[in-house]
Amino acid sequence: MSIKDEQTAALADLIACPTCDALYQNVEPQFQQRAVCTRCHTVLSAPIKGSVARIVALAIAVVVFLIAAVFLPFLRIEANGFKNASSIFDAAFSFSAAHLVVLSIAVLILILFIPMARAALLIFALSPLLLQRPPFRGAYLAFRWSEDLRPWSMAEIFVLGVGVALVKIVDLARVEVGAAFWLFSILVVFNVFQDTLLCRSSVWRALDRARNGVRND
């Protein structure tokens, strides 16, 4: 081992709080326990047993649900004999009529493409770990990107927006909610579950172990 390798190995025993830069020994907490930064109280690590398998399962479900939601009816309105049905694409592209195409595309990206991309990146990065195989090349990059996308994935905000819109027009017309609406609502629950399961530092550790051929529990 060269001096440089020894230094790198020594640095692997340290972690820094990403929020306040406090330096700690890299001690992995037991399952269901948490390591918290004593200075800024950021959760540094909170491993959950079997979280990788559950994260991948939820990501697969998210992809299937999103694809189904695109093709199924979303909302239907009826008033004075006039009817109109709306899909998720219609909702996103309502802006195109008023020369607000940019906004239409942005809405579509925020409620469909980014949630989809996040799920796909997680599946790509973590599924080899379930088969006790080393991660793919680019798995580290994929996981980093999926975490960067997290605040921009707005499916849950969209569902709440639909709720508010329904409250506003419920006096005006009869509204029927379609299957896609319920799929989207369940999707929000999945996303909340996934966020509580996903401990960033545990995933990095799991990726490191898989790369070095150490079994992940």
């Binding site: 640095l11 929020t19 830069d21 200075r39 006039f82 709306s86 309502s94 906004l103 980093r144 605040p151």
Partner: protein, 216 residues
Amino acid sequence: MIDSGIETTARQQGLVACTHCSRVWPTAATQCQRCGAKLTSRDARSLSRVWAWWMLGLICYIPANIYPMLETKLLFKVSGGTIVGGAVELFAHGAVAVALVILLASVAIPLAKFGAIAYLALSVQQGWQSNQHRRMQIYEVVEFVGRWSMIDVFVVAVLSSLVQLGSVVSISPGPASLTFALSVVCTMLAARSFDSRLIWDSIAKHDTNRDQVFKP
């Protein structure tokens, strides 16, 4: 380091931390060897980016309040509703609770967000010694709440795609929906540009100053 309750920081040990995966590297490193993220011990340009996005967000927020979010066509009458106008109308109709929710989500929270980001950036630039934990909480709340302001834009999208009932009534989005969305995105980017480690450096500096003063 007396008040902070920790031994040391990565920076004080001549190390640079990866904010993505928490690993530490020698200060000279520019890229994290584990996850490939760019490394900066403290992002010197962080505050200029914060102020740039902040200004842009504020500029977009002004037309978002002047122009209508929604244009409602009822029979042959077209009426545009601004955010505040819509809330006032709801007040007049007696729906006080809904009006308050709209005012809170679309006016109070965005304004508070501008104030909070400006306060955080100024506190670091001016080296204010105010409570770090308070500032950290403000930072976390701003990061968490920021994205939820997009709800207004989604409401407009759903309403205008759904309420297209021939000649009776139709709703279409107004120009404010675009500038409001831009304003939300800009404030999100402003908050994300802020390097939260700068909040905590002020105590470190403060403590070393004190050490120097009281050294025999």
